[in-house]
């Protein structure tokens, strides 16, 4: 089409200038710009929607009660609106997951980037990617029906739902995200740094931990932050394997609901639009978004502070 408009140009002598052609170009640029702008619009819409519904919620419930009450029972007659039990559940399950994912993910990343022979890396990387592609609901099934019974052999007093088994499975689920991002960061460290280290007589392990890792620190931090946001926002594994009962506890052996599990529980029921129960899921969602945002900003600052440029 664009070629046609060029042929029809009224000034064949002036090559390259045609008003219609120019218009056509500007129009397309505008279209492309609008779609790029959409991502900003989505972000604003998310914030606006959460704040709008939470605003109505906070007219019923004071912020003080929301933050300090130790019970979360918005659907009962004797309603309490304390977010603490849900936040505690989220933090405990995330903590268990990160205790699994961060060390294992880091070790796998170092191994693949600095130690593994070419063929091992070529096989392991796609495999890890496949592992990251398994739907989370399947991991939930696995946690409830495989890991929990397995853990009950070791800890006979473990209940059928627990933060521990949900957190463990979540941790394994997050490993691929952490390892692939950390590995990319380490592979991006220029070869001459390693060569310098080897020339000084350092072993592979010394080179990896004292030269490559510090140099790739900002990338590794980004991988950790991604892992943390995944753990906090993960929904299906905890909804299936950790139970749906809000429970203010720091003990991973107990069942407890997380923020995400609560949102799922309410959505499964039939809450009328505009009721206080409907608004609680937006207040819970806002809390969740703020939690991930805090970690992301922290990670961004960390990256800026320690970024190495080659």
């Amino acid at each position: 089409m664009a070629v046609k408009s060029h042929n029809k140009a009224k000034h064949p002598g002036k090559l390259g200038y045609s008003f219609r052609r120019h218009l056509h170009e500007r129009f397309i640029e505008l279209l492309l710009f609008m779609s790029a702008l959409l991502s900003v619009a989505i972000m604003l819409a998310i914030i606006a929607m959460l704040v709008k519904e939470s605003y109505v919620f906070f007219q019923h419930v004071s912020l003080w009660e929301f933050l300090t009450d130790t019970q979360w029972t918005p659907l009962f007659d004797n309603a309490h609106y304390g977010i603490m039990p849900l936040v505690a559940g989220t933090l405990v399950s995330s903590m268990v997951a990160l205790l699994v994912a961060l060390p294992l993910g880091t070790i796998i990343a170092i191994y693949l980037s600095e130690f593994a022979p070419f063929t091992v890396r070529e096989i392991a990387k796609p495999f890890l990617e496949l592992l990251g592609g398994v739907p989370t609901v399947v991991y939930g099934y696995f946690a409830l029906l495989f890991v929990t019974p397995l853990l009950q052999i070791i800890f006979p007093e473990l209940p059928g739902f627990s933060l521990l088994s949900a957190g463990l499975v979540m941790g394994i689920m997050i490993i691929p995200y952490v390892s692939s991002m950390a590995e990319d960061a380490m592979r991006a460290v220029p070869m001459h740094l390693r060569e310098g280290s080897y020339a000084m007589g350092a072993t592979r392990f010394q080179t990896a931990t004292r030269v490559v890792m510090p140099a790739a620190f900002s990338g590794i931090a980004a991988a950790y932050i991604l892992g943390i946001s995944r753990a906090i926002g993960e929904t299906m594994v905890v909804a299936i394997a950790a139970g749906m009962q809000p429970n203010l506890t720091w003990n991973p052996m107990e069942p407890a609901a997380t923020i995400t599990a609560y949102i799922v529980q309410v959505s499964l029921g039939d809450l009328p639009h505009g009721s206080i129960g409907y608004q609680t899921i937006f207040a819970a969602g806002l809390t969740l978004l703020l939690m991930t945002l805090v970690f992301n900003i922290f990670g961004h600052l960390l990256r800026k502070r320690y970024r190495e440029i080659y």
């Binding site: 640029e29 998310i46 070790i107 496949l130 696995f142 392990f205 909804a239 499964l268």
Partner: protein, 308 residues
């Protein structure tokens, strides 16, 4: 320190350091094995439980109160239709944004805001997209708890994936190609549509497949929208017998999808339903693995064949 000249002393130090190397090597292999074994256990568990349920009838029956008669017909039809909506909206928008950011965007603070924003969107928990879709699509725009609302919610979710894939694919095309096109008098859009997009098609396709594979398995945002878990009918057919032969009524139909059907079965106490969950999970995993595998294969082919 004074014995450093002593050869046996030096050998000892080297030996000790080499042992650390070996130990770490073993730790790395063990860590990899934990991931591999988990995957094998997961797959084996589902295979053992679910395989006997995977009959033709399982794919052609509606959900039922009787576990042995229940099937995933409405679920897989729902998943297919939701994916159609997702792909039709996320792919053009994602490619357009990617092209804009990579080829058109001026270097200013506004572009930087868009770029930071795309990165941040990728980190937003998926259930938050569900809340957005619930408030915006279901109630404010009045789409209801429909296939359209679910498809759009998942489209928002995978948009960053498509954008990033498009940008990376376009960025890897050498400047010489653009210069060649401009030298022959092509406009910017002609350069993009005739050269950059065709050359980056494989890379973009890889990203689209990975995004859709993620969308197929996403459960949380669709639960938030309020998908029903018990659907014993199919949405209206998209093709009709009378003129105009196509109907878009299915867009506003209530629906269920594979992961929700599986979640519903997992959370029931009867063991027979959990066997159904295993079978549904098996279908789901095979689907996502096949898609991810295809994407990995495409990337591998690309890396091998394209030498700029």
């Amino acid at each position: 320190m004074k014995d450093i000249n002593n050869l046996t002393e030096i050998r000892k130090i080297i030996g000790r350091h080499k042992r650390w190397d070996l130990m770490f090597m073993i730790a790395g292999i063990i860590a990899l094995m934990i991931a591999v074994l988990t995957f094998i256990a997961l797959f084996a568990q589902m295979l053992i439980d679910g395989m006997p349920r995977l009959t033709w009838l399982f794919f052609t029956s509606f959900p039922s109160r009787h576990p042995e008669m229940a099937g995933i017909l409405s679920a897989w039809v729902g998943t297919t239709l939701v994916m159609l909506v997702t792909a039709a909206s996320a792919v053009p928008l994602g490619i357009a944004s990617g092209v804009y950011l990579e080829e058109y965007a001026p270097k200013n603070i506004f572009t930087e805001i868009i770029e930071i924003n795309v990165t941040n969107l990728a980190g937003v928990p998926s259930i938050i997209y569900g809340l957005l879709a619930l408030g915006l699509f279901v109630y404010q725009l009045g789409f209801g708890q429909s296939i359209l609302a679910a498809g759009l919610a998942l489209a928002l979710l995978i948009l960053p994936v498509v954008i990033v894939a498009t940008r990376e694919a376009i960025r890897s095309i050498p400047v010489a190609i653009r210069e060649g096109a401009y030298a022959l008098g092509a406009t910017k859009w002609q350069t993009v549509s005739d050269h950059l997009l065709p050359y980056s098609a494989a890379g973009i396709l890889t990203g689209v497949i990975i995004g859709l594979a993620r969308a197929i398995g996403e459960t949380a945002p669709i639960i938030t929208i309020g998908a029903l878990t018990f659907i014993a009918f199919l949405p209206p057919a998209p093709v009709t017998e009378e003129f105009p032969y196509v109907s878009f009524e299915w867009l506003s139909a209530p629906f269920t999808v594979m992961p929700i059907q599986m979640f519903n079965w997992v959370s029931r106490p009867e063991e027979a339903f959990q066997l159904n969950a295993a079978a549904a999970g098996l279908v789901l995993v095979v689907m996502t693995l096949a898609m991810n595998g295809l994407a990995i294969y495409l990337r591998y082919r690309m890396r091998k064949n394209i030498k700029w």
